[in-house]
């Protein structure tokens, strides 16, 4: 433990530079040392030179080194050429496209005109036209989008969540958490105690005002997720687990996504069948206006907040 802290404390910048230059090394080695000491059951020789293949052994060592160098130079040249080629082709294409910032471009057609001119007063009731667009006009995209987050968390959970029988499992999530970073830093804790409520309130403000000012579920959810992450960094896993665990994640995302899907299913169905909807747009600018948008924003905000925290937590300690 102490060793890791020293290693990482001293010359992080130098290591980062070396890592950038050489690809994989010392930072990784420091981390590997941790995993090897504690986590890996079968100590496999790490970072030994891979045994040369039989056909390489026969050849002159010098010759091989030269060839490898040549190959590396060649691949760098190829990469640069490819990069310049892609950039050149795309720049050429862009130069032929409609020019930047002109109001008579084909993009600015009747669709954004209706979004802007009728969006607030007749169609969605959202002062924030982008919110009206993503949560009402093109709500199907956004429904898919929140499910992208959901599927990502599920996949990361499959990949990183500790299972009974995994080699890392016997450590327990708390130890793994401490392996990566020491905590209980009093300065951080005092500041976090002040900041976290403020961040949470700001996040809630951004979510709740998503339809009448800049913001919305995605940005507000990310802000609230940051507060949760800060809490875990400052107070450690045990404290955070008191109010946020896998069960919390499950309950929140099931409710939020289920509500989202049902609410949108209702409005899609009534819309397609030209049925009157019970949802009214209210008075634009009020907090309770714009039909379903504020509620959808809350649902999206909850999903995003949980996703951010869940991803961080899974990467950090393999548990929610």
């Amino acid at each position: 433990m102490a060793r890791v802290r020293d290693d990482m404390g001293d010359t992080r910048w130098g290591r980062l530079q070396r890592w950038l230059r050489e690809g994989d090394d010392s930072l990784d080695r420091a981390m590997i040392a941790v995993w090897d000491e504690s986590a890996e059951p079968e100590p496999e020789p790490v970072f030994t030179v891979p045994p040369a293949r039989p056909e390489q052994k026969k050849k002159n060592q010098k010759h091989t080194a030269k060839l490898e160098k040549l190959l590396r130079v060649f691949s760098v040249i190829a990469a640069v050429l490819l990069c310049v080629g892609i950039i050149g082709i795309l720049l050429h294409t862009t130069a032929l496209l409609p020019s930047f910032g002109r109001e008579d471009n084909p993009v600015h057609n009747e669709v954004p005109r209706r979004y802007i001119e009728k969006g607030m007063n007749e169609d969605t009731g959202a002062v924030n036209i982008v919110a009206g667009m993503i949560l009402d006009y093109r709500a199907f995209d956004t429904l898919g989008e929140s499910n992208v987050l959901f599927v990502a968390v599920c996949t990361v959970m499959i990949l990183l969540r500790l299972q009974a029988g995994d080699p890392d499992e016997r450590l327990g999530s708390d130890t793994r958490d401490r392996l990566i970073e020491p905590h209980s830093d009093p300065i951080l804790q005092v500041i976090a105690r002040v900041l976290i409520p403020l961040i949470l309130i700001f996040g809630a403000y951004v979510i709740l005002n998503g339809h009448i000012s800049p913001g919305g579920g995605f940005s507000g959810g990310a802000i609230m997720g940051a507060a949760l992450i800060l809490h875990m960094l400052a107070f450690g896993e045990k404290q955070t687990a008191r109010f946020f665990s896998y069960r919390t994640y499950r309950a929140v995302s099931v409710c939020a996504l289920g509500f989202y899907a049902l609410a949108k299913a209702y409005s899609f169905f009534t819309g397609a069948n030209h049925l009157p909807s019970i949802i009214t747009i209210g008075t634009p600018g009020r907090i309770f206006s714009a039909g379903l948008i504020p509620y959808l924003n809350i649902a999206v905000g909850l999903v995003v907040c949980c996703t951010m925290y869940a991803l961080f937590s899974l990467f950090r300690k393999g548990e929610l």
Partner: protein, 121 residues
């Protein structure tokens, strides 16, 4: 006609560099970085498409609902969707990288493939 702004130029340079890294570099973390750059470039490009000189963000102020007052809201919404998608993809790719690193102790995809092949034999 013609390339008249820096936003699109920067976006394309970002895209080109990122895409090259994604294609050629053998280090998995760098591939992830390349992927993030590719996506950022594209979102900048898409956002630039919605801009109209001298107009404001599409949030109604003082009840003005004329097309001539605001920029195009559609690219903004699409970028929002796209960003979320790229967050999700990066998370999954990084999780895979972590798993591979724990197992094979290297980030080089060729070495990993070599080791995996030996494992099979």
């Amino acid at each position: 006609m013609g390339l008249t702004n820096y936003a699109e130029l920067a976006a394309i340079i970002l895209f080109g560099i990122g895409f090259t890294i994604l294609l050629i570099d053998r280090n998995l973390i760098k591939k992830n970085i390349g992927f993030a750059m590719t996506d950022s470039g594209m979102y900048l490009y898409l956002a630039a498409k919605g801009y109209i000189s001298g107009r404001k963000a599409p949030i109604v102020v003082n009840g003005v609902t004329e097309m001539s007052a605001y920029i195009n809201p559609i690219p903004a919404g699409l970028v929002l969707t796209g960003i979320v998608v790229s967050v999700a993809t990066s998370a999954v790719m990084l999780a895979l990288t972590v798993r591979l690193y724990r197992k094979y102790h290297t980030l080089n995809i060729d070495e990993i493939a070599d080791k995996a092949r030996k494992e099979r034999e």
